[in-house]
């Protein structure tokens, strides 16, 4: 991206002044290097989002922003229903509530080393991953409805996990106002055999070691110390979320003119929050969030079963669960007034600061854990939300690194087997049903996640707490 398009407002804050149909400015939080590396399309998409009705304050992009569809990935925007604000299926994305959860194991690296191979095999065989895999939980019509209404709460009620898990999931594990009846039979059919599955692409399950703790005080509150072993689960709402995204994108495109919405890009398809389509989408999207929360909860249960077999002394308590692709109703201070807004985060993480009432009491003193995923050979990070972030971008932060090269390019550059061998020499065991998938997801195909995380810290969006490095990775 050309720096001349932007006005620098701080070391890592760049503004795009309103022009044309923009209703608010664009704001990008990133280092100069990250801005240079961003596609021009990010600029275009940030400015396009700024033209949407009812947008408040600014159209934001996080340090890992890249070219998405409609909204940039790493885009954050909030809309006021009282100002004709909209909800956008493209502003949430296809993989609704794709997210990361982190489990503490109560183990240290030395406990894992002797059983790393059998642990990798067992996780790979117990947790379905990849294209065409089926989950072990088949939902009939009644259970599908209950799952879509209840989320992780439903899963715990069915015996997948513990009641105390719910405290450490956004929305306490159950997104309110979900409307399972707004979810089509097509979407439900796509999901009926996909509960408890990882999916493919950048989704994974990793056993990781805490390689470094940057903030011992917050680390102590989060319960992570150097040398500890943790488990990360990265997946979303699977086929159900994809189908909801597909269907509502189309209905928003075809009804935009009726709502007098001038779309600079069809991919920005949206509907007024207070319209029939808008309300239908919100009900379905919230059901998809519950689907993702239930999915990660079931996978958590499967992980616990594996550890119980191989390392029975493991405790596997939930540190936190965050979602990346959501639209949520939140209250934020706008011009000194507490205002109810519909906050879209697409490829961005909620990062509430200390004392926020939505946080569990045990975390309220320090702020929300923000979980940043890597890819196989690269680090992942635990951050914490900041006081400043609430004012900067509605309490939001980055979510990962983003690709630096296309899948095609990655395939030309790497062979899956070579990637697996190379990572094995570094002590990282990879298990995947697809060698081609491994090549496409090679660590070198992604941007440097550390640079993104540092930029988030420099911009005061979220502060580094710990760096995690993989020991075992199950890829879809």
């Amino acid at each position: 991206m050309d720096l001349n398009l932007l006005k620098r407002r701080g070391r890592d804050e760049w503004h795009i002044s309103p022009r044309g149909k923009m209703r608010v400015p664009g704001v990008i939080y990133a280092t100069e290097d990250l801005i240079h590396g961003m596609d021009e399309k990010v600029y275009e998409q940030v400015t396009n989002v700024a033209t949407l009705p009812g947008i408040v304050k600014a159209s934001y992009a996080m340090p890992d922003a890249h070219w998405g569809y409609g909204f940039p990935i790493g885009g954050v925007a909030a809309f006021d229903p009282d100002l004709g604000g909209v909800v956008s299926a493209g502003g949430v994305g296809f993989d609704i509530s794709c997210g990361v959860r982190l489990l503490r194991t109560g183990l240290v690296v030395e406990d894992i080393q002797p059983v790393k191979e059998p642990l990798a095999e067992a996780l790979f065989h117990r947790i379905p991953a990849g294209v065409g895999s089926r989950g072990k939980v088949h939902l009939d019509r009644y259970e599908m409805h209950a799952m879509l209404a209840g989320g992780a709460k439903w899963a715990v009620g069915k015996g997948y996990g513990m009641h105390e898990d719910l405290e450490f999931i956004e929305e306490r594990g159950c997104m309110a106002d979900a409307k399972p009846e707004n979810v089509s039979d097509y979407a439900k059919k796509r999901q009926q055999d996909e509960m408890g599955t990882l999916g493919s692409g950048n989704h994974y399950l990793e056993v990781q070691r805490v390689a470094q703790v940057f903030d011992a005080e917050v680390g102590a509150v989060f319960g992570v110390r150097e040398g500890d072993v943790v488990v990360s689960i990265h997946c979303g709402s699977r086929g159900l979320g994809h189908q909801i995204g597909t269907e509502f994108l189309k209905s928003m495109v075809t009804t935009a003119a009726r709502h007098h919405i001038d779309l600079p890009d069809r991919e920005l398809a949206c509907a007024p929050i207070n319209s029939e389509v808008g309300q239908e989408y919100l009900g379905a999207m919230r059901a998809a969030i519950n689907c993702a929360l239930a999915n990660r909860q079931i996978i958590t249960h499967l992980v616990r079963e594996v550890f119980a077999d191989i390392l029975p002394e493991a405790t596997l308590s939930l540190l936190y669960d965050v979602s990346h692709n959501t639209c949520r109703v939140e209250e934020h201070v706008i011009d000194g007034v507490l205002t109810r807004l519909f906050v879209h985060r697409k490829g961005a993480t909620r990062a509430f600061g200390p004392r926020h009432p939505d946080l569990p009491p045990s975390l309220r003193t320090v702020g929300q854990p923000v979980l940043i995923g890597g890819t196989m050979g690269t680090a992942s990070y635990v951050l914490v939300g900041t006081e400043e972030s609430m004012a900067l971008a509605y309490g939001s932060a980055c979510h990962g690194a983003g690709r630096s090269m296309s899948r095609h390019q990655a395939l030309r550059q790497w062979h899956g087997r070579d990637v697996v061998k190379e990572l094995a020499t570094r002590g990282i065991l990879i298990r995947s049903p697809s060698m081609r998938g491994i090549a496409e997801e090679a660590p070198g195909a992604y941007k440097d996640v550390s640079e993104v995380v540092d930029a988030a810290g420099d911009a005061n969006l979220a502060r580094k707490v710990a760096r995690l490095e993989p020991l075992v990775c199950v890829k879809g």
Partner: protein, 149 residues
Amino acid sequence: MIMQTPSSETAQGSWEHFPHEADIGVRGMGMTKETAFEQAGLALTAVITEPTSVAPAQAVSITCEAPDDELLLVDWLNALIYEMATRRMLFSRFSVRLNDHSLHATAWGERIEIIRHQPAVEAKGATYTELSVKQDEQGRWIAQCVVDV
């Protein structure tokens, strides 16, 4: 519905992928709009696996309607994604008939075998990004869009 594989060949066209920062673009090309749509279907399969590894053993009928060609292309690809997901199938041969803004097609393929097909990634949905259905200067039809993976 399941039918016999016909012996007739589809008209020759070509497909390719084009880069997108996070996802992947699919592009089908042919001397007719129908062929371009068929080749876009093949490009979609190639996102997931090597199309030549998929036997066109079972047929599935697909029907879509949309107000214009571009939305019809998205609907067509999304219908294929849906059939792949719910039937656990991959497709390697397509026959498309277009009439105004409705599409009637048959897709031939087989059930996924993970070891043999090595599916790399699942397609989540076809998007409106880089979406176009048009003829180039040589009269060749090009049908393309970005697919979220």
